[in-house]
Symmetry: D3
């Protein structure tokens, strides 16, 4: 297999196709222009700077362009960066950004099949109907959007991957506690972050939309449930709908995390904890991926800026 | 004018009609039953206990009943209470609970006229249409519900009175700052607490409904706006609607107060401050109403348990 | 099956054997003595008061005594209490306190077998040796102590039941995340609360020992690991031991919860979350056990004083 | 009208007189000296750097000097900066720093007249006498000092402008609430920040004085009231004086904001809220002044680092 | 020596003179009147209730009266109380309240001499002059007032005792650190709480005065320093005075404890820590005074509600 | 005496031997390599950068090397730095790092004698035996390790110096309070930070060891006491040992500072306060050492980022 961007060692030269994930034109201290670039392929991303950028270069090397990159991997202030030797825009036949972005570690086919089976397995007819209606309306976005702009599952397909991971946790944990209604827990897990498909701008190089900031994905998914009820002629004030709406409205778990109401159902508290569990384990695993045995990871912003220890082999 | 419940001095005897606001049957230390009562009329409320209550008394003296109360106002643990001598259920012709509850200090007619004129004065057509549609759907509840279960404006008609007070503040403050859009501010003020008509159970002896706890009035009014758009064929993702939804969603001002999003518009921050201003001034005024010059009020729960000072006459 | 203490309805008379869980002699307002009692059997506990208690009664009805209780279940200030008609100390043949205390919902045999198999299943030899040594030293206490004085699993055998529940969660969750070392997670889960056997006074009517307050169970289990190393000639500064000690030292998850260090291993963070998950689900389930459909539970102290909703049947 | 500093677009060349607001000599990475400059005129301020600064340049281009600036407006790290081509000290006849600083949006004459009328309108004689005495002693400073070093109203005359804005709010709000004493509220508003004239160093390029940090403007204005009483033979322990002192001592509203006592008067709580309202609206308006429709402002430090949304035109 | 109030054991009868520290007339559940009394003598205080109090009793047994008390010490809800058999007002010749209040454990003569020598020992002339002037103005109050209404040193003379304890700490600690100016530290310690003589109502049965709540003792002592400067023709803006004012203004150490400014001098931080040290040690010692070896004290409100352990004898 | 590193004024040239405290090789913006250096000698430390570093330079100028440094002291971004002209590794005869590091202001001999006498003065035999055993095991480390990596006493011998300062405070304060057991307080002070000898890597250029992060020095010293008991055949559950363990376990004073238990003994609370007192006074004194009269120090991280004022001479 061809070597990818993050496979190269410090001081190793590279000559590979990559996607420009972002390109900011800035002014250097000597008042010339340079471009601050983020390169990416399926292995991850590294920054680089194109010094003394010509007007032509500024026009060519824009966000979303696939280029052939020649240079060397170096280290600047403890982080990797590419010392650029040459950049060449690839012919349009090779301009497939999706081929150069990290993707969920499970195939879309596998995720799709899992989601279809999970929805079909919901016994409570109201919840199944609502979940099915919302998934139908957001099907493609659900499988392509990231779960967040940064922090965790911030890649194409991350929303589906995170959701499926949570459903799997739910399926394992629910049977251990008689009082837990698996239907309610799994329906909540499937829907909880679906508002992200309207809060964010898209699958790649995603940003928060103004509407996303002003309304928030928590309320947006609640709105979807209300619309689903209207479309399906379900009473939106029935016990079943109120319970489901409470699941998504309270899933951030604390008011200071943006939940308009605190979890007041056994399943709502559990959904919040499952969400945190999958997010935490993912963030720690990512942080440790770049850490050598015996060292500490970078600080993890989403976990109180803690650093995590990469253990050494046991004797 | 006849003397009301709170007009009597300590140790003064009374013989007046009052409403039983609540009646809890409890067991005394000697294992007999007694009823813990809250009496109310338009002047306010005082508690009392009916010792050694018979089964007949327990059946007669229930919440919502108007009775003739004979007794004496006394003081128990620094609070007023009625030492009951006799209680007599009044004939059904006199059973009008509304006549015995505190009401808003402005007449419903005056409030109605003010609200109608305010709605008619909204220049922006989308906001006027939405406000008008929602008020029409909740007209009677708006003018009869309290603004809260306790704390402030917790009386019949309190929701309308609090809303109108906020609109008046908005009308005075907006002209002082060029950047403020009075239409947006006033539309937000009119709608901000309308979800209370579904969060609470009714105008008198109000409680939180289960649905009220699980969804919350902040999300409920947002849902109303969305439904208004659907009914009026307004695009719920248009700039105008997003701005209005943001006003009501952020009006609690802080995440820890249950706002799903923080105020991100000049008018949204101002709406939150106007809400707090009217609530604070009302709570302090109420607390000082029972405080003698030179003394301190009871602690005000909604204001960090602070006590307020009743000033003495200046020389 | 005979009716138990909590099976009786309000105002129903009872005549059953119960254990006196605590008995405080106090002075009434009329200066006579009374005994404030907590009665318990395997169904739970209810309070009662013996008024005008004689010196004989004070000598007879002490903590830990099994009596025949005749009386009526009543309600005082929204909580159940027994109106005592008669109390009679049972003959010494019937003085078996264990027969009248709530016990873990799984048999000791089942728990024992599960623990033995789990220990045998630890692959890493150092961890298995340490876990085995500590369990051997605390075998009986582990299966009889409660997991806490109040809050959750506060009954005889609660420590084993809580520990086994956590191990089961660990066994289900670990396979979903490649990066998790199940051996470390399960070893930590088995040991994490073992210090309670020295922090608390015993299986029944447990209290914190002075030593328990001054040292704390977190440090006490760490001390046990160090002693196990000394006994087994294992280097207590080896990587394997440091990892295991970190698991127990950090399992409270936050400094303000009494963890001397924050979790810095993937498995340590997960252990903390599993501990919280089992505790939360147990506390909520207990709170809802006494709550009617459509009502809210009592406030749950260990979960930010939240109340939880008992759902109604869906149509 | 001549173009001002902030009127130029990115990449536009400029040749205008400006004031050097601050000038720090620093060492570049190549060990040469450069001057980090802040230029200002009545339109606002922009930074710039003079590279390879000679000893002569370091002597010439100091804080408070008016120069002719030739250069180009560029963008560096998302903020505007001037690429300097030439700087020339203007002849002493043109050295009028006041001509190049932002000033309050209302003329000093208008502010003066408003303040005089407001003081004359205070009915309570003790308060009027104290306010008049203090204003007389600080007359010129009151109309020239800023209200703060940064955050809001941080320009020459800002103190008077902020104070007048608060008085106007007070005049509008007080009549809406019967319980509010407008005299006390307005007297408090007039005095509340007067201690700034001793806490800060002066109207231009203001800093905190050591005395300002060690005593604080809250205590300093209280000291002024005490001295006014001594000068006017008013009993500083009379009810009227205690009330006025409490207004200024509590106006920061919370202990953690540096109030030595919490507001305990209706008017004191309201004064605090009016202060926050004017400060918030000013900060948000300033932040939005540089923001394009549909974009978010820079983070506003004084408002929890929130960003505010610049709305787009409605259809 | 005669037995004092707190020398009697539970269930022991007593017949001794005591002072009525407070007397509240209340209504019993059977609607008769009773008096809730606090008795005190130099050994401490105990509560009691006079049931079925006649109008004569209500007139006789008022706060500040010395009576002959006959009764029995009992225990009610874990606290001691007196079961009253008889109360008799003592003749006016015996009405000396000071004889029945706890006093500082050091004689006023010793405290006076220590304070005089300490003031004389201040080398810096400005500080000595100011301290001397303020002590002269408050001499008697300083030696009779308590240091607080509750918590610690809440007895006649407590202010002087607490102040002297802090000066002794200062005298011991200052020589260990070269950078500490003992003159500044000791001058600050002498003055720091002097504002209490105006914040509180008097030496016995002290309360907060309205002025005390509205201004606070921290600002009150600052005001005294300013007045001392005016009287002594010292420039109140000189470095020496600013330093001394900062010492008293910052001595609460944190904004949330009511300090208008944080400590910004080495000596100011140290003064705050010495204040806390003396207060903490006193509160803990008091709490342990009633605690048996091996037991835990009551919770100490001023120390995060912690309980403290009374150690057992070592072998 | 020869001039040391921090004796040189800005722009003064220097030619002195110094120790390289740290040396990080980085890539400049022009992609050449440079070394970011920290130089130190007994007077303190200053940074410098070696631009365009050759491979030979990178090999030569490593952490722990003593060099002859020629250059000039300059100022970069308000901090001193050395503009390097030449660097020369000194011959191995001059390679004595200890000669170039700051040391405790008291000689090791004096500290040693003080510690020996203090240990000998402990009257309680169990505590003396344990303290003696632990000091014997860590004797050399105790006198050479720093007390911390940064903040305060972060130099060779700092642990002993900080410990001795605390013992001196304890010896002065204990006699002022009868209730304090000086033996327990002094034993706790001697041991409290001894775990640092295992938490940190060594006396010079110290770092936290992985074991130090995962276990923490608070638990490490507790472990030492347990081992001492085992070695000395002392019952580790005796009252005397529990008290001593509690002293070290609670000395951080608050859970959020990493104490697994809160102080529950009078002496434990006092030990915590003495620790804070010595740390605070040392941090403030250090911060003021570089501050000119009338100026404010840098912000002190360990004291809420406060700045401290360097007072001017009094007239």
């Amino acid at each position: 297999m061809d070597k990818k961007l993050k496979d190269f060692q410090p001081n190793e030269t590279l000559d590979i196709p990559v996607l420009i994930k972002s390109a900011d034109v800035r002014t250097a201290q000597d008042s010339s222009s340079y471009i601050a670039l983020v390169f990416t392929d399926s292995s991850g991303e590294i920054t680089g700077k194109l010094w003394h950028a010509s007007q032509q270069a500024i026009r060519d090397f824009t966000t979303g362009t696939v280029i052939q990159l020649t240079g060397k991997r170096e280290t600047y202030q403890d982080r990797p960066q590419i010392r650029i030797r040459h950049m060449q825009v690839l012919p349009s036949a090779d301009q497939d950004p999706h081929a150069y972005t990290p993707v969920a570690p499970t195939s879309r086919e596998a995720l799709t099949e899992f989601v279809e089976q999970t929805i079909a397995g919901i016994q409570e007819p109201t919840w199944q109907a609502i979940v099915r209606w919302i998934f139908k309306a957001h099907w493609d976005a659900f499988f392509t959007y990231p779960a967040a702009k940064t922090n965790h599952h911030a890649y194409e397909g991350g929303l589906a991957y995170h959701t499926v991971s949570m459903v799997k946790l739910a399926q394992k944990i629910a049977p251990l506690y008689d009082a837990v209604d698996p239907d309610l827990l799994i329906s909540g897990a499937l829907l909880h972050d679906m508002g992200k498909t309207r809060e964010l701008t898209g699958p790649i190089a995603t940003q928060y939309r103004a509407e996303g900031n002003l309304i928030g994905h928590v309320v947006m998914i609640d709105e979807e449930i209300v619309r689903a009820c209207d479309a399906l002629a379900i009473d939106s004030h029935s016990e079943a709908v109120i319970l489901l709406r409470h699941m998504v409205l309270s899933h951030h778990g604390r008011l200071e995390f943006g939940a308009p109401v605190l979890p007041q159902l056994l399943e709502a508290e559990l959904l919040h904890q499952i969400d945190q569990m999958d997010a935490s384990l993912t963030m720690i695993t990512n942080a440790l991926a770049d850490t050598k045995p015996g060292d500490y990871s970078e600080r993890v912003f989403g976990l109180d800026n803690r650093r995590f220890y990469q253990r050494r082999p046991l004797d």
